[in-house]
Amino acid sequence: MSWLIIALIFWLAAWAANVAMVRSKWADTTLVRYLVPIIFGLTLIVAWEALVHAFNVSAAILPAPSDVAETFAKSTGMLWEDFKQTVLKGALRGYFIGAAAAFLVAILIDKSPFLTRGLLPIGNFVAALPIVGVAPILVSWFGFDWHSKAAVVVVMVFFPVLVNTVQGLRETDAMMRDLMKTYAAGYFSTLIKLRIPAAMPFIFNGLKVAATLALIGAIVAEYFGSPTRGMGFRISTGVGSLSIDLVWAEIAVAALAGTAFYGAVAWIEKKVTFWHPSQRG
């Protein structure tokens, strides 16, 4: 019972602190903008911990965050192995190959308005499909190691980046292109100095969507067969052997990796498209 009361008090205090911070004159400072969501997240974790203790939930069903943290600290070696296999080898390589391929294809297609018109609706449609379903096919084509995982990620990442890049390349208006013409700029200098920079906000939209898809692809592909390491492998075997705390530690790694990856892409976007209204506001 005392756990519940502690959690309740913590929640009320955290909420009051957040309200006070948002209403204070420092509401727009960077510190407050980070502090408020962090306190909210802490509240959720405290509530989870309290509920597990208050209702005596078995560790085989839902371990407390403190147990998960302990397992995490104990098995960092293994988690690092899995992280290397799934994120560094599978997801990141697939992400770069897929995004680069999509970018090149977009530039080639862009030369033909006919192809662009045809490809945009198809690409948009394919980007909305459950492409993760191809995972078993690609695993049987490319084997169990990271190659098949990267292949799944390539396929998943390709279409969102392609569609956004093609759309972005069409963003320049006639005035801008005329200006380039008065400078006697050819196709390539117009592409590099005007159209690709103008497409950057769109490209990064695609890259951000793709960043969240990349990890999903790499993990799902591991459910269909993998060497005896990798996050998806550990999760599916962990559920089977009831080492649930390890599964949650693995989920924490996945969450951290996903957030860091997305954050990195968003950070690069900020540096590259600093001129865009959405980044200045």
């Binding site: 909210f40 839902l62 018109r117 449609f125 459910y223 996050m231 999760i235 989920i251 957030t259």
Partner: protein
Amino acid sequence: MTKTALSVLTVLAAIVVIWYLAVAPMNIRVALDQADRAGETVTPETPVERREVSSWTLMAKNSSHIAAGYDLDRPRLPTPTQVGKELWKTTGAMVLKGRTWSKRSLIYHGWVTLQSTFWGFLLGTTIGIIGAIAIVQSRVIEMSVMPWAIISQAVPIVALAPMIIVLSSQVGIEGRGFPKALISSYLCFFPVLVGMVKGLRSPTGEQLDLLKTYSASGVQRFLKLRLPASLPYLFTSLKIGIAAALVGAIVGELPTGAISGLGARILIGDQFGTPLAIWSALFAAAILAGVLVTLIDRTQHVLLRKMGMRS
């Protein structure tokens, strides 16, 4: 419009042609193995030797066996015709035989997935809309929840999916419907939330000022201006949301050993080594996604026209 249709058809035709061409190199090994076992002579004679040679050399040396690659039971890459036939066999032909709801019919499996998609969509949309209203109304909620909503999408849901299923079965919820709907709502709520926040904030200062001169209350301002103004945004995100919900329902079936649903067909096809089942389930999912998005698109069209928003 016809110009676009022509372009789309050309690209589609090109894809089909490339697909047909790719079947030959993809399947030549399987075809040769089969011919070898049937006692025919193929050029590098043992499978081990064949593994050393590239598909192109194999095709050049055994050109008479290329055609066999287009008619395999268990191809590495089936032809579009094979996929089409399999699709028809598991949908239309089943209906004609009066076995629409048989366990081998994709209509049955599609229906199972559709149910999870629907409940997940409903749950996700509700959470998204309520969340958006709360975010627009309260700055504290916006500052504490919005970053986590973004982070939630960066967390790979497939990692959580097995846990959601374990948890819900321990809590005493029978069946796979609920956990699948939960997973699909997880993917679905975010686009709705973002679109709805944008939509509820879309009224201009002038419009808000006008309502102030009418001395409208906060509730009236919300019901008569913000809510209607958000509808076009809502529908755009609903289209993304329903596609995401379908992805979620299928992802919810993949890692969990489900036995019915399109994702389960993919899983079973993988375990029993029947690629045609996987391909036909994939195409069924694609068709389902197309139908769902079109349905919402039509609804949007009719509704917005009635409200006088778009011609």
